[in-house]
Amino acid sequence: MVTPNTEFAYNSKIEGEVVVSRADAIINWIRTNSMWPMPMGLACCAIELMGAAASRFDIARFGAEVMRFSPRQSDCMIVAGTVTYKMASAVRRIYDQMAEPKWVIAMGACASTGGMYRSYATLQGVDRILPVDVYVSGCPPRPEALLDALMKLQQKVKREPSAKNLRSA
């Protein structure tokens, strides 16, 4: 007697303990859900960054609550605040010390463009020294905006050819 298979979901009796997927999907799934930030808090944006990490907004919902103050253990640098030329070298050095793969969120007007500081002392956008993945507008941005940026970054990471990058690295 032949019975039609009407189960479309995962069936452990048939497939055992094997899940078939693409390497990219698995790697990116892991990366997007444990994106540990390097909080580069340089000005008032850092207060909103703290707000995003605290209980009301709770960045932990997106797997990014583990603020690492060591660049060796972090994946995503959040540049929150005004980058002066004096500080720019330190920001770049910390970025260089982060292990691949790594991403950068420029949080707020100052980090993105220099903001209102059109002056001799301020770097006119952190993208002059770092490759920035997501820019967040606002002065400072609300925590929701940072969460939105994080989700945008997760969408971006999900499209990366991670397995290929691993082989070529």
Partner: protein, 208 residues
């Protein structure tokens, strides 16, 4: 202001070269910089002006002489009174002033800031380095001839500069500096971004 008159009177007996300085608020005096340490010590020890509020300086712009004036603000925690002391630097090209770090250790960073931004050298300062800009920065940013946007120069760290090809640039002003009292002008049209772009809320985007 009887307190002012009292300070002024005793002052002039003791330091005949001290003159009154025009002031909109607190008593103020012009003092030759050579005497300023003695004057400040006298004010601290005998007039109970025991609190150094600020050390700063004025640049009266290129071509004027004297060009630089060092200004000291003192406060008396006993009488709750302020006094302002100002002295002109003799050299307009390489201005110097005596350091008062030995009177108030708090003057240390004030004098460093003054040196950093206006280029006034304080004789006798224990550690006269830049405090805000980095060591080796070639300009004094608060001097009148220095543009707000800055002047193109190298990044402080040569290694990072080589790696990133970034420089300290003259910042794009985009219609600024943006200075206006509210109600004076239409802020939407005066904002830098409005001048930066050919269209905004009030002006239609021109047909391409």
């Amino acid at each position: 202001m009887s307190a002012t008159a009292a300070v002024s009177l005793v002052f002039k007996e003791k330091f005949p070269r001290v003159t009154d300085r025009a002031s909109g608020d607190h008593p103020a005096f012009n003092v030759p910089l050579a005497q300023v340490v003695d004057v400040l010590r006298y004010l601290r020890d005998e007039r109970s002006f025991d609190f150094l509020v600020d050390v700063t300086a004025i640049d009266w712009a290129e071509g004027t002489s004297p060009r630089f004036t060092v200004v000291y603000h003192l406060f008396s925690t006993v009488n709750h009174d302020y006094v302002r002391i100002a002295g002109n630097c003799e050299n307009d090209l390489e201005p110097t002033a005596p350091s008062i770090v030995e009177l108030w250790p708090a003057a240390n960073w004030h004098e460093r800031e003054c040196f950093d931004l206006l280029g006034i050298k304080f004789d006798g300062h224990p550690d006269l380095r830049r405090i805000l800009m980095w060591d080796g920065y070639p300009y004094f940013p608060l001097r009148k001839e220095f543009p707000l946007a800055g002047i193109e120069t190298e990044l402080p760290d040569a290694e990072i500069a080589a790696e990133t090809q970034a420089k300290v640039i003259s910042a794009p002003q985009a219609g600024g500096p943006f200075v206006a009292a509210s109600g004076e002008i239409n802020l939407t049209e005066a904002e830098p971004r409005a001048k930066d772009e050919s269209w905004n809320e009030r002006r239609q985007k021109p047909d391409a």
